[in-house]
Each structure stands twice: as structure tokens, then as C-alpha cells.
Amino acid sequence: METEADDVNRAMMLDGNAVAGRFAALFGAEMTTSLTECASCGQDHMMGALLAFTHAPGVVLRCPSCEAVMIKLVETPRGVYLDARGAAFVRIAR
């Protein structure tokens, strides 16, 4: 079995910066410096610092502290689905 160091899924992991364009297009604002709180462990992080898994049917953003799923983003022909049930809040700057 692979060790953590050669986990291909971890090696393909990006961060919130990598999906900044999609979020900017969606929210009409730069989102990587937006503060968000993990609903599982309560830690606050900037969106740009979340762990991003993009080799998947959608984008999955996880908490860098506890790795719980915070946000899912799926773009479909009929709309964009944003599942943020793992985030206690996302602060969108004025």
C-alpha cells in the first residue's frame, strides 16, 4: 500500500487559488482572500488556503486543518451547484 508521501491523490491536490477564476466568475468578486470557517473543526482560513481537489466530477475544497469537505462546486449545463454545508460561513468582502 502506498505511503502518504506517494499518495497520487495528495500529489494532485491544489489549493483555493487554483479555482479562483471560477469563483470570481460566479461571485463577481475576488474570493481567495475571503475568510471562511470550517463547520467541522471551527478553524478560519482564507479561501485561497483551502485544499482543492479538481481531478473529480466537480471541485472539492477541504479544510487545511482537519481535511473535512467544506465546499463542493459543480458546473452543469443548467446551472452551477454550490454545496457549502461544510462551511459555517464564507465572508464576501464589500
Binding site: N17, E30, T32
Partner: protein
């Protein structure tokens, strides 16, 4: 950036080889917008049957270079976007792009320092934008770059970095070659570790502003190493890219 991000058609104005696997593409943009060093552009390619591929690439040029952006792109084995750009795209071709994007991994002269930049492979690209911006803005913030590459020939921007380090503005560069080294090599020859970071970061004091960009495993190693030598987490910003070049 408060307007919704729009796609625009950029024209490839120039292509330059940096290393055997890395090229810099200069793009002319009809709607050029001043970026912040460290930001990126999204590129979108579309085939005749509608198939699309999209990737993000860091901006290499300084914000002070107006009307165009330079993207330095490594050719990834099996990477359908980077292979297309390296092997098919030529000067005059048009490519859909949107940007500039991002606000988390950016540095502006006004943010000050001291500045510690750590790059792995083509992770040096956004750091180069920061260094070019620093030079263009006349900043003399004490700055050190630690750049890791497989071999001497894989060091992107080496001549420009050496020239910047010799200009007396307070910038120093350190290289580590992890796979092979020239016979007269005086730099480091191993993966980035806490001991190396302590040596490079030491003269910058306890709380340098740190930017780390590279493959995930290098980013994790460098961030953990900085934590080990006592750099506070809120002074460290990271940007990971994967082996697939997405």
C-alpha cells in the same frame, strides 16, 4: 477586480524557450488590465467538436509591463494543454483567456518584507513576477529566493536571477539541484529541508513574509520546515500545482 470575469481572445505575440521543457508565451490582450504580482490567467482551449480543456497559468511578467502578459509554461507529459501550447501553438494564434485572477498569493512592494520566496520547478513563475515587480518599483526590501530544480539546465530564469542578485538592491538567490549537479556546483544538492531553510531564512529575521510555490509535496515540506524554524503561519502563503499541470 469587481467586474465579473470575462473571457477574451489573446494573441500570441512571442514565444521564448527558457529551458528544454519550459517556454514563455507573450500574449497581447485587447482588454489588458494591470495585474498584481502572483496572479494567474485561466486559458481555455476548444476543439471543433466542442471538447474543452481549461488550465490556470501564473503570470511571469511585472505589472509594469503594459498591454501584454507573459505566461511561462512547463510542458507536462500527457498534459493536453501544455503539450498543445508547446507543440502546436505559434505566434499569431489566438487563445481564450480570462484574468488576472487571485488575491491570496500576491505581493506588492507596499506589503514590504523582508521577503522569502521559495519555488520548485516552474513554481518560480509567480515569484519571478514578484521579483520583476520589486525591481520595476525600485523596492529595496531585503529579499531571498530559494529555487529547487532537478538539474542546472532546468533552472528557469537563471541568468536574469543572477543579474538581479548582482544589482545591489538587496536580493539574493540560492539554488538547490535535486537530481544532478554540474561538477563545479557550489549550491545545494538535496530536497528543501528545515536546515536549508534555517540557513537561507536566518538573515531575514524571525518573521519574513514567505511565498512558497511548487508541486504539493515541495510546498508541504517547505511550509512545515518554516513552521519548524519558528516562522508564524500568518506570514506564510502557499500555492500548489499538481503534476498534471492543471
Amino acid at each position: 477586480m469587481n467586474l465579473p470575469l470575462q473571457w477574451q481572445l489573446a494573441t500570441i505575440a512571442a514565444v521564448r524557450s527558457e529551458t528544454p521543457e519550459v517556454k514563455t508565451f507573450s500574449l497581447h490582450l485587447p482588454d489588458w488590465m494591470r495585474h498584481r504580482a502572483g496572479q494567474h490567467y485561466d486559458l481555455r482551449l476548444r476543439a471543433a467538436d466542442g471538447y474543452e480543456a481549461q488550465r490556470s497559468y501564473s503570470i511571469a511578467s511585472a505589472p509594469e509591463t503594459e498591454g501584454q502578459v507573459q505566461l511561462t509554461i512547463e510542458k507536462i507529459n500527457d498534459g493536453e494543454v501544455s503539450s498543445f501550447l508547446h507543440e502546436v501553438a505559434v505566434v499569431g494564434d489566438r487563445i481564450e483567456v480570462r484574468g488576472p485572477i487571485g488575491g491570496y498569493f500576491v505581493w506588492e512592494a507596499a506589503l514590504g518584507g523582508p521577503l522569502l520566496l521559495i519555488g520548485g520547478g516552474s513554481g518560480v513563475v509567480p515569484l519571478m513576477a514578484m521579483l520583476r515587480h520589486r525591481a520595476a518599483a525600485g523596492s529595496r526590501v531585503p529579499t531571498r529566493l530559494l529555487l529547487s530544480a532537478r538539474s542546472y539546465d532546468d533552472l528557469i530564469y537563471r541568468e536574469e536571477l543572477d543579474a538581479l542578485a548582482a544589482d545591489g538592491s538587496g536580493f539574493e538567490v540560492f539554488y538547490t539541484l535535486t537530481r544532478s549537479q554540474p561538477s563545479d556546483w557550489h549550491g545545494y544538492s538535496r530536497r528543501i529541508d528545515a536546515a536549508m531553510l534555517a540557513t537561507v531564512a536566518g538573515p531575514l529575521g524571525r518573521t519574513p513574509l514567505c511565498y512558497i510555490c511548487g508541486p504539493t509535496l515541495l510546498v508541504e515540506a517547505a511550509a512545515n520546515g518554516l513552521a519548524e524554524i519558528g516562522v508564524p503561519a500568518n506570514r506564510i502563503r502557499t500555492e500548489r500545482f499538481g503534476p498534471s499541470g492543471s
